[in-house]
Amino acid sequence: MLDIRNLHASVDGKPILRGLDLHVGTGEVHAIMGPNGSGKSTLAQVLAGRDSFTVDDGSVSWDGVDLLAMPTEERARAGLFLAFQYPVEIPGVSNAYFLKAAVNAVRRHRGEPEYDAMDFLKRVKAEMKAVDMREEFLYRSVNEGFSGGEKKRNEVLQMALLEPRLAVLDETDSGLDIDALRTVADGVNRLRSPERSMIVITHYQRLLDYIVPDQVHVLSHGRIVRSGGRELAHELEERGYGWIDEAQATLAQGAAS
């Protein structure tokens, strides 16, 4: 289980997360919603360990381990997966090579035998079928020249291969048409399991029609301001994010007076 307490983080001296608390139980799916600039992506990157963000205060405990003390690649090997909002292109490096290197890094960490080329190809081809990716994507450079939908499928493919304990999906729905969204959501749903927690970050309620969360949280100005069941997402869809900010402002005034 993931336990985030009073998390403060900044980039170039500018505070973005300002005292964020979040508890995600094992096997649960939590959605984080919020307007642009509320800190959603920052939360994802801080959890994954991107060093351009500075953690100024707070703690993150992951199954009793201090997550923030772990280097980026250690977090990944221990089972933290971030599906990127903007997957990065790596020219000249074939997708197959990249995926195999990643999978074997994780398998080594778990004390499992590394895949050889044949085993790996068998496994990856099966997983590709599930996310409706053609085999040629194995031999193309990582994300290079992929469409938006293809990049997101590639993220879900990696997630399936790496079998994380905690998956953070950062606006996986952005830039997807409805068919691609459905395929990606199906891929994610297949990976739901009692041992796997997920944090699904999204701007729109739409994704949550396909990936049904156990809990929904609303992020505003670097803090969780509302938490609830999936009906909270519908409320946001109807009323927009404005009322949250207004409610926050009223709350803040109340606290001040």
């Binding site: 690649e73 292109e89 790596i90 020219p91 490096v93 990249f98 990643a102 190809l121 450079s141």
Partner: protein
């Protein structure tokens, strides 16, 4: 941009593993250059009169020349009287007759460098000529090659055994007065490799020369001559290392390739001369003239180089496309780190009809390194239907390095098709983070990105060399899948 410097710097600060010195007694001439020194070099090698004259003529030309000043490199003027022009490991009798007679200390040196000279130890079946300072110390697999009529030996031996071939071809691709360093080499060259592949013979194994500079204050001036007769095919590999020393050492080699009708020569180099320390102290000045002559129709010459060493590299492997339908290729990876400077590229000169050339250059600059691509594509008035494709990519690592591109294109025939593409990119913090989020270490991530950048060149290298090249760039082997 916020440079992702820490992991990259650690990666770039690797030690130079070939920097040891072998303790050997040397038979060396005193420092300095004069006609007398040249006579003594020639005498030590027991050369015929014509070759001595050729050397002296080169020397006289050299005296009238000045070092080229146009390259994007800077270094204090070289004192040519402060260099030892001949140094050989001292041996008891004459040249060793077999490997068993080679000084075991020398054999150990090559073992340490990963170049075992014992034929029985060679698994990959590559014939090796080992050049230590000024002389060739061992050539392997000579007998097997001889059965095909192939000559693969040291240059000195070729002068003795095949004088007619040497005399016919020496200096016909790189003339004595071609440039300052080539003229110097022509005057004082000490040894190198010689290859002759007879008509219609496909050389059954890769041929390889391993150059090692060991002695202090010594210049290495080797001369390589490769002739592929009509319809012959050969793949030749060259590797180089030197000990770590505080002084700069000069390496001014000349390589001449001659491809007759329908012949095919593939020449691959992995150059790892000592690059100097982090502050730019020491290192090899690698001022080399390499040129291939596609003399016959349908001949093919291909240069592939991976340049990671040397304090300064000045090198433009070129092809003269004289035969109709001949093909010239140049594939290059040049890495400069710390204070290294490289000014390298290629010249493709189209004389024949329907000649084709390709230049693929990948420059990687890190630290305070400076990397310059300099290219010339020339289509002469008779070169009907000439085609060239040039691609020149630069990768920057960190914020202190520099990359320059100087392409020159001269077209004198309206039917020519010449294309040039250039890109500059940077290893992004986002790429590193992406790879590390998938469980790779920063080092593996940098290696992978660099390797991806160089892929088009690595795939041109013979398998064994590709492994070596990737290791040199700190890269684990890619390509077992995909």
């Amino acid at each position: 941009m916020n440079a992702p410097t820490k992991p990259i710097e650690a990666f770039l600060d690797r030690e130079y593993p070939a920097g040891f010195v072998t303790a050997l007694e040397a038979d060396a001439l005193p420092k300095g250059l004069s006609e007398d020194v040249i006579r003594r070099i020639s005498e030590k090698k027991g050369e015929p009169e014509w070759l001595l004259e050729w050397r002296l003529e080169s020397y006289r030309r050299w005296l009238t020349m000045t070092p080229p000043g146009w390259a994007q490199v800077s270094f204090p003027p070289i004192d040519y009287q402060d260099i030892v022009y001949y140094s050989a490991p001292r041996r008891k009798a004459d040249a060793p007759k077999s490997l068993d007679e080679v000084d075991p200390e020398l054999l150990r040196t090559y073992e340490k460098l990963g170049v075992p000279l014992h034929e029985r130890a060679r698994l990959a079946g590559v014939a090796v000529d080992a050049v230590f300072d000024s002389v060739s110390v061992a050539t392997t697999f000579k007998k097997q090659l001889g059965e095909h009529g192939i000559v693969f030996c040291s240059f000195s031996e070729a002068v003795k055994e095949h004088p007619e071939l040497v005399r016919q071809y020496l200096g016909t691709v790189v003339p004595q007065g071609d440039n300052f360093y080539a003229a110097l080499n022509s005057a004082v060259f000490s040894d190198g490799s010689f290859v002759y592949i007879p008509k219609g013979v496909r050389c059954p194994m890769d041929l390889s020369t391993y150059f090692r500079i060991n002695a202090r204050d010594t210049g290495q001036f080797e001369r390589t001559l490769i002739i592929a007769d009509e319809g012959a095919t050969v793949s030749y590999l060259e590797g180089c290392t030197a000990p770590m020393r505080d002084e700069n050492q000069l390496h001014a080699a000349v390589v001449e390739l001659v491809a007759l009708e329908g012949a095919h020569i593939k020449y691959s180099t992995v150059q790892n001369w000592y690059p100097g320390d982090k502050d730019g102290k020491g290192g090899i000045y690698n001022f080399v003239t390499k040129r291939g002559d596609c003399r016959g129709a349908r001949s093919h010459i291909s240069w592939t180089q991976v340049e990671t060493g040397s304090a300064i590299t000045w090198k433009y492997p070129s092809v003269l496309l004289r035969g109709d339908d001949s093909v010239g290729e140049f594939y290059s990876v040049a890495l400069t780190n710390h204070r290294q400077q490289a000014d390298t590229g290629s010249k493709m000169i189209h004389f024949g009809r329907n000649t084709k050339s390709t230049i693929i250059s990948k420059g990687i600059s890190a630290g305070h390194g400076s990397n310059t691509f300099r290219g010339l594509v020339k289509v002469t008035p008779k070169a009907l239907g000439a085609r060239n494709y040039t691609q020149c990519d630069s990768l920057l690592i960190g914020g202190q390095c520099a990359a320059h591109t100087f392409p020159t294109i001269e077209v004198r025939h309206p039917s020519a098709r010449v294309e040039h593409e250039a890109t500059t990119s940077r290893i992004g913090e986002d790429q590193l983070f992406y790879a590390m989020q998938r469980g790779l270490t920063a080092e593996d991530a940098v290696s992978m990105i660099v390797s991806g950048f160089c892929k088009e060149v690595f795939k041109e290298l013979p398998m064994e060399f590709a492994v070596e090249a990737q290791k040199l760039l700190g890269v684990s082997l890619e390509g077992s899948v995909g």
